[in-house]
């Protein structure tokens, strides 16, 4: 159970080497296979997640949620996906065609690229990058460009406003996000995500860094344009922000990318603060799935509980509260570490 996937990967590499490929090319083929696996995981996850989101929102609002197709409405998302795939792809005539058409593709590519460094089990990492955390943050920052492209390409004032808001918000919240994660990095002493997981063998970092966890969680919610921070989409005022003009599959790609980002950020949260794939009894890949889903449930819970925050409040919250708090946490962590070393407890 524990080593299923790593064994399969090893067997594939061995077989390819047996066919006469050099080690580099065999690794390259393995990379492509892993990438395909990630795309599959993402798609399946999104199908489950949309169903879960609708169910959770229904339960919170005293409704039943989807309950028609299949047991507890489980096949509803599949039906929706088929509908979206077969819908007409409308490209409005006065858009900036190429930007409009490629924005969702870049968005989904960027979202899928996030998964390259997340340890999805013991030794189950596509690339064990020595600056994995920095990779995650910097690739995550690319999604702002995609939103800006979508907003500009649509040639629609609501889309443009939504994109502007999204970008302003994402750039502002990226800073507290990164700084709150730095506290964890200081304790673990590495930017490599597998090292950070191993460093949590005795105690989860959420207990050592509660303030960092809270600031990370809030900043991640804003970064995902979710929950109380969904000003960029704001259906009631901007119809759907940057996604207004999109139809069919292109719109579905945006949706897919949003949920992909949600899974990635939750998985990073589990890795950074909740011990990653470590856990008793069950195999490691199951542990990270359980932790990720629990964190995502909290994200959904928050989204369906809190009303949307006003734009100026949102920005001032980031710059005037979240950033100073995370900086203070960083300073506190440094002093704490030195203190522990001085006392000889570390």
């Amino acid at each position: 159970m524990e080593h299923w996937f790593t064994d399969i990967a090893q067997a594939l590499v061995n077989w390819l080497m047996g066919l006469g490929l050099s080690a580099g090319w065999a690794d390259f083929v393995l990379l492509i296979v892993q990438w395909l696996c990630i795309v599959m995981i993402v798609t399946i996850n999104v199908i489950i997640l949309i169903w879960l989101e609708r169910k959770v929102s229904g339960f919170i609002q005293l409704r039943l949620g989807p309950n028609r197709l299949g047991p507890y409405g489980a096949f509803q998302t599949i039906a929706d996906a088929i509908k979206l795939l077969t819908k007409e792809d409308i490209i409005p005539s006065r858009t900036d065609k190429w930007i409009f058409m490629t924005a969702p593709l870049f968005f989904i590519v960027v979202s899928v690229m996030l998964y390259a460094v997340i340890p999805m089990g013991d030794g189950m990492q596509v690339v064990d990058f020595n600056v994995g955390l920095l990779y995650f943050i910097s690739i995550g920052s690319l999604s702002t460009i995609c939103l800006l492209m979508a907003g500009w390409g649509s040639n629609n004032k609501w889309s443009m406003l939504g994109a502007m808001r999204a970008v302003a918000q994402m750039i502002s919240y990226e800073i507290p996000l990164a700084i709150s994660l730095l506290g964890v990095v200081m304790i673990a002493g590495s930017l490599r995500l597998s090292d950070i997981v191993v460093a949590q063998g005795n105690i989860w970092f959420v207990l050592l860094q509660p303030i960092a966890f809270i600031t990370y969680f809030i900043a991640a919610t804003a970064e995902l344009n979710r929950g109380p921070f969904d000003m960029p989409e704001a259906e009631q005022e901007l119809t759907a922000g940057a996604y207004t003009e999109y139809t069919g599959m292109r719109w579905a790609l945006f949706f897919l990318a949003e949920y992909t980002n949600l899974v990635a950020v939750s998985a990073l949260c589990a890795t950074m603060f909740f011990g990653g794939w470590q856990g008793p009894g069950l195999p490691s890949w199951l542990w990270i799935i359980i932790k990720t889903y629990l964190i995502m449930l909290v994200f959904m819970w928050m989204k369906w509980t809190f009303p949307r925050i006003r734009m100026d409040h949102l920005m001032s919250f980031s710059w005037k509260i979240l950033l100073p708090v995370s900086l203070a946490n960083l300073v506190l962590t440094g002093f704490g570490l030195e203190f522990f070393k001085w006392m000889g407890w570390w």
């Binding site: 959770v56 339960f59 005293l62 409704r63 039943l64 309950n67 819970w301 928050m302 509980t305």
Partner: protein, 230 residues
């Protein structure tokens, strides 16, 4: 404490998500409970309609239309076909409210979607048995009506005669006081029309007759007083 409200909100939604969801009606399996005055779809009762056209004039959206033909012998309008084009209906109830014979009414059937546009239109053709029924009724009606009229006429005449002959005795059935009866008799003798009306009322509705009689008496007494003063 800062953020107390947020935690409270989270707790409320958490509780809600485990409550029983009995607010929801699972519709196709379980029909919703509709109120008595719920306006589902508009229906028409052909037999009650008198083809007056009030409904058509009232309709703001031109939902309703009808075809009529002149009946040769009675020169009455005869309804041939009645159409409700339900796709334009906004269920304002103006037709139903003003229908004098209640031939239009709302039913509780709310499943109105159709596959084709033409299926939304409801066309009511004149049922053939209505013509037969009408023809049969016409002959029997005439007989019974004339017989009834004759009987009424006879009764009325008999009553008028009775009042003329013996006013005190007959009118005592209506009024109690002797003086009042006398006054009433005087009034009735003086006016032929009042007499006929009184007689008719005494046959059909005694209570009403009593009230009218009292009113007559009061008026007469007042006039007399006035005359006395002068």
């Amino acid at each position: 404490m800062y953020g107390k409200g947020l935690l409270k909100g989270l707790w409320i939604t958490f509780k809600h998500s485990f409550e029983k969801k009995d607010l929801v009606v699972r519709y196709p399996e379980q029909m919703p409970h509709l109120q008595e005055r719920f306006r589902g779809s508009l229906a028409f009762d052909f037999e009650k309609c008198i083809a007056c056209g009030i409904c058509i004039r009232n309709c703001p959206n031109n939902v309703l239309s009808m075809e009529t033909a002149k009946d040769e012998d009675s020169k009455k309008k005869k309804l041939m076909q009645y159409t409700i084009d339900l796709q334009y209906c906004m269920f304002c109830n103006l037709c139903v409210e003003d229908c004098p014979t209640n031939s239009l009414y709302f039913t509780h059937d709310f499943e109105l979607s159709q596959f084709h546009r033409d299926d939304i239109k409801r066309v009511y053709h004149r049922p053939p048995e209505l013509d037969q029924q009408e023809a049969a009724q016409k002959t029997s009606d005439q007989d019974t009506q004339t017989a009834a009229d004759d009987k009424k006429e006879k009764q009325l005449r008999a009553m008028i005669n009775a009042i003329n002959k013996n006013p005190q005795k007959v009118l005592a059935r209506v009024l109690d006081g002797e003086e009042q009866v006398e006054v009433l008799a005087a009034v009735l003798m003086a006016d032929e029309k009042k007499l006929a009306r009184m007689a008719e009322m005494m046959i059909t509705d005694k209570e009403k007759a009593k009230k009218v009689a009292l009113a007559f008496v009061k008026k007469e007494l007042k006039e007399r007083e006035k005359g006395g003063d002068q």
